[in-house]
Structures are given as structure tokens and as C-alpha cells.
């Protein structure tokens, strides 16, 4: 019994590793067809599911069916490129960060330094509840209530890079605020007290003592929130517009990698499906790197 239990628990612990390797290998194999066809230029190609004429060398190899209904038609192939969803993902994430950063810092300062303990506790719970709301709810609320207001202010389309980025920003607020608050709290009281004793104002203590002391943790929280925003699907699916077009302006619609996957996987086959797997592989790789940097370089010191 002793041995069985130990081995079972060891096996369970290894499952994390197995799943992780499984995801990498599976996504790699599934995207191989697209990788071989398009190579790395996939990430720079703005065309998605676009018919193009074959080049003369390839055209020679096509056997023309003499009974074909359209014998004169030029032979074509469908190509896929990932530039649009990649740009959409990066831009919507940057908008989210720009919007959330100041507010999250303010909330963290409020929770850690300003509010009395009981108020800080209640507000802290409320902010964490904001994190618990399912992302599909953010999407629906964003589409029907938030986007029309944004459109009234800036014009353009209701579903756009901007509205998606802003709602994404609201979603990552709680993560950023909570981790920033925790790292600010690691500042030793004695440092703060000495600064106060020298006559510093609260703002000066925050700016010159707490921020420098907890800088690493705060940067970590920002990068971790960035990792979350990169992979967020449902809220963005409602709001970004889901069109494979590079955004002409901040208030025009486009698409992100998760949304491209969410809306197209069901019907895709062959090279199209493989291209989606290619996007999924890239997304996983990027978020893996981003989260690793945040967790192991910046957040080592901050306890969860």
C-alpha cells in the first residue's frame, strides 16, 4: 500500500510534465504541414485563406483535366498567413496594458497603503471577485453596454481593437492589482518608518521607498498580466470583430490568435486546420516564454 501510494503520487506529479510535453509535441506535429508549406514567412504574411495563382514551376506539375468544366481557368492554391491575428493579439494586449497599468497601480497603492484594514479587506475581495467573473460575461457586457459608449466617444466601429483592448484591460486589472499589492507589502515597515521620520509625505514614501523596493515584483505582475491578456479568448471574441484584416485605425475591427482559433477550428480541414495549429503553437510558445520570465525572473521573491 505504502509503495503503491507513493508511486501513484509520483505518477500524478509527472502528469503535468507529460501534458506539457504532449501539448508541445501535438501542436508541433499538427502544424507541420503548414510549417513546411509556409515556413517562418507565415508570421509576416497578411493573407489568410487567400486564393493565389500557382507559380509557373508548380503549375507545370498540375495535371489538367481535359474534361474539366473550366479548362482555361488558372490553377490556384490557398495560402495562409498569420500576420493579422499576430498583430491583433499584440496590439490588443498593449492597449489592455496601457489602460490597466495606471488603474491597477492606483488600486494596489490604495489597498496596501491608504485604506484602513477593514476597507482594504472588503475592496480586496470585491476586486478579486472581478477576477472570478467568467470571461464570456465580460464579452457580452462589453459588446452590449461598454462598446456602444466607447464608439460614441471615439467613433469608428463598435467591435474594434480598442473596445477589445479596453475590456481586456478591465479583465487583467485584478491580477495586476493583487500581485502588485502583495509585492508592495513586502517592503519592511522599518524602511517606511524611517522615511516618514525624515518628514516624507505618503506619496514620497510610495515613490522613493516602496516602489524601488518592490520594483521587481511589480514588473513581474505586469508581465504576468500580459501573459494572461495574450491568451484571453472569449471576451475578445465578442469585441474584436473577427475579420482577417490589419486594423486601419485603433477603432477598426481585426482578429487575434485565440479568436482565430475559437471561430475557425470547427470547420477547418487540411492546410487550413494545420495553419490554425501553427498559430496555436506560436501562441503557446509565446505565452510559455512570457509567463516563465514573469514567474522565474521577477516573481521569485513574491509569495503567492
Amino acid at each position: 500500500m505504502e509503495k503503491i501510494f507513493k508511486n501513484m503520487s509520483l505518477f500524478s506529479a509527472s502528469i503535468v510534465l507529460i501534458i506539457l510535453i504532449g501539448i508541445f509535441v501535438t501542436l508541433f506535429i499538427s502544424s507541420k504541414q503548414a510549417m513546411e508549406e509556409f515556413g517562418l514567412s507565415f508570421v509576416a504574411n497578411p493573407a489568410w485563406q487567400t486564393e493565389v495563382a500557382l507559380n509557373p514551376k508548380e503549375a507545370k506539375n498540375v495535371v489538367v483535366d481535359e474534361y474539366s468544366l473550366f479548362p482555361d481557368e488558372e490553377p490556384t492554391k490557398t495560402i495562409y498567413g498569420g500576420l493579422v491575428p499576430i498583430v491583433g493579439t499584440i496590439l490588443s494586449t498593449l492597449i489592455a496594458l496601457a489602460f490597466a497599468l495606471p488603474i491597477a497601480m492606483g488600486i494596489a497603492v490604495f489597498l496596501a497603503e491608504i485604506a484602513p484594514k477593514n476597507i482594504s479587506h472588503v475592496v480586496g475581495i470585491a476586486i478579486e471577485l472581478l477576477a472570478a467573473i467568467p470571461s464570456i460575461i465580460f464579452g457580452m457586457w462589453g459588446l452590449f453596454y461598454f462598446a456602444p459608449i466607447i464608439q460614441k466617444i471615439v467613433g469608428g466601429y463598435q467591435v474594434s481593437l480598442l473596445t477589445a483592448g479596453l475590456v481586456l484591460g478591465i479583465m487583467i486589472l485584478p491580477f495586476m492589482a493583487a500581485i502588485t499589492r502583495d509585492s508592495m507589502k513586502t517592503t519592511p515597515d522599518i524602511l517606511k518608518e524611517s522615511a516618514y521620520a525624515l518628514g516624507a509625505t505618503k506619496f514620497e514614501v510610495i515613490k522613493d521607498v516602496i516602489f524601488p523596493y518592490s520594483k521587481v515584483g511589480i514588473i513581474g505582475s505586469i508581465i504576468l498580466a500580459l501573459g494572461r491578456a495574450l491568451g484571453e479568448t472569449m471576451a475578445v471574441a465578442f469585441l474584436i470583430g473577427s475579420v482577417f484584416e490589419l486594423p486601419k485605425a485603433i477603432n477598426s475591427p481585426t482578429i487575434s490568435i485565440p479568436v482565430a482559433l475559437a471561430n475557425n477550428f470547427g470547420e477547418a480541414t487540411g492546410l487550413g486546420a494545420s495553419s490554425l495549429f501553427y498559430l496555436a503553437f506560436l501562441l503557446f510558445l509565446i505565452s510559455f516564454i512570457v509567463i516563465s520570465i514573469a514567474k522565474f525572473y521577477f516573481l521569485k521573491k513574491v509569495k503567492k
Binding site: F11, A13, L27, I136, F138, L261
Partner: protein, 268 residues
């Protein structure tokens, strides 16, 4: 001047907190108003095909329940390994690090993974595929909470157990797990709340169904995927149904969260 800047910054911080609370309030009030107007008890009796939510609610619970059934034992066992057997070995730290990454992995990628290994080989979306996607989401969260809760159990308890001659297995089962029980249960509750609101990993793994079904080998109904479909439907009745469904889902998730917090505060 210094004092003025100080006041200004503190005011901005308070305003930020108000903004955060305002967004929460805005979302909850909207949900409540829209949800209440479209809410009626028939929602729990009829299936989606006749404008009810019964099959969706049951389907979501079955998939999340099955995911918990597989995910909880694996996650708890893994947590026990990391804390009780693994000590601070390289392997343990490595698994812990990977687990931290998996907790934040994009859920849509997990959907794509399950799509590749289950949906494509079996020829179609199914309740099983959906459950497995949720299981993969759940395991890292359960490991994380179990690991943290067990680390709070004082070492003296373990030593006391070993000292009276109990086997390691007995010490873990009878002493450590018992000591950390409340914390672990809360963690399990919160991880259940996390996966029951998930949509992205279900979109192309379980699909959705308008009819009542218990057959996990077929496309399977779920509240979240149907909310996505209904909300994008131009028909007003469908949107009302989506709001009612969102209301039920959010109330459920927030209730579980508040209960979890209440337990940790009063017993943990």
C-alpha cells in the same frame, strides 16, 4: 506643493479603486437587471430547443463534474507528492515551476490540444473531449492549492506521526490530509468555480447541443458555449436567454467563490 502633490496622488489612488469597483458594480447590475427580466422558473424545466436552459445547465455540471472526478484525485496526489515525498529535490522544483506555467496557460490552446488528440481521431466533438479539456485546466490549479495548503501543516505533526511508528502513508492519510482538510476542500471548490465558467476549451471539443443528452460520446450541451452562440444571435429572444444564462452562471460562480472565502476565513 509637496503636500498638494501628495494629496493629488492619494486622490488618484482612491479614484482607481473606485473605478475598479465601478466596473464590478456595472457588470453585476447589468447582469442582474437583464437576468431578472428574462428569468423564469421554466428555464430549469425546458431544454434549449424550447427556449429553456435545463439541458445546458445539466450538461455543464456533468462535464465539470467529470473533470473534477478525474482531476481532483490526480491533482491532490500530485500535491501530496510535491510536499510530502518530493522534499525540495530538483524534480519537485521543476514540476512546481511547470505547474505554475500551466496554471496561466491559454485555455484555447488546451482546447486545440484536445481537438488534435481526441476530436480528430474520434471523428467529432463529444462530451468526453470537453471533460478532458476541463480536466487539463483543472489539474494544475488543484496541484497548486493542495501544495500550498499542505505546506501550512506544521512539520512537528509529521514528526509526531513518524515518532509513534506510523508509516508514511498513514501519517499522510490520517494526520496531514486531515489537518489540511478545510484548506484543500476550499481550494477544490474554487478550482471547480474556475472551470465551470470556462468557454474557450469547450468551443470545438464538446460543441453544443440544443437537446437533452447524457451521451458523452456525442456533442454535449453547455451553458457557456450556448451563451456565446445565443448572444451573437440577432433574435432578441435568444439574447434574452443568453442574459438569463449569464445571470445564472455568474451567480453560481460568485456564490462558490464567496462560500470558499467564508470557509477559509472562519475555519482555516
Amino acid at each position: 506643493m509637496r503636500l498638494l502633490i501628495n494629496k493629488l496622488v492619494l486622490l488618484l489612488a482612491i479614484l482607481s479603486a473606485c473605478a475598479g469597483l465601478a466596473f464590478l458594480a456595472w457588470i453585476l447590475i447589468t447582469l442582474f437587471l437583464k437576468g431578472i427580466t428574462s428569468f423564469h422558473l421554466g428555464l430549469f424545466v425546458d431544454d434549449l430547443i424550447s427556449n429553456g436552459l435545463r439541458n445546458l445547465i445539466i450538461g455543464q455540471f456533468i462535464m465539470a463534474g467529470l473533470a473534477s472526478l478525474i482531476g481532483i484525485p490526480i491533482g491532490v496526489l500530485a500535491g501530496v507528492y510535491l510536499q510530502e515525498y518530493g522534499y525540495n529535490s530538483k524534480f519537485t522544483r521543476f514540476i512546481r515551476d511547470l505547474n505554475d506555467i500551466m496554471v496561466s496557460a491559454p485555455s484555447i490552446v488546451i482546447g486545440a490540444f484536445v481537438y488534435a488528440i481526441i476530436v480528430i481521431p474520434t471523428g467529432g466533438a463529444s462530451g468526453f473531449a470537453g471533460s478532458i479539456a476541463l480536466t487539463i485546466m483543472m489539474i494544475p490549479i488543484v496541484i497548486n492549492t493542495t501544495d500550498n495548503m499542505l505546506s501550512l501543516v506544521p512539520t512537528e505533526l509529521r514528526e509526531a506521526g513518524i515518532a509513534i511508528g506510523a508509516s508514511k502513508y498513514r501519517v499522510i492519510m490520517d494526520i496531514i490530509i486531515k489537518a489540511a482538510k478545510v484548506g484543500i476542500m476550499t481550494g477544490l471548490l474554487l478550482s471547480f468555480a474556475r472551470i465551470i465558467g470556462e468557454t474557450a476549451p469547450l468551443l470545438f471539443t464538446s460543441g453544443t447541443s440544443n437537446y437533452f443528452t447524457l451521451d458523452l460520446t456525442q456533442t454535449f450541451p453547455s451553458l457557456t458555449v450556448s451563451i456565446y452562440d445565443l448572444a451573437n444571435d440577432p433574435v432578441q429572444a435568444s439574447r434574452d436567454l443568453a442574459w438569463a444564462a449569464s445571470f445564472i452562471l455568474t451567480v453560481l460562480v460568485l456564490m462558490i467563490n464567496l462560500i470558499g472565502r467564508y470557509i477559509t476565513r472562519h475555519k482555516g
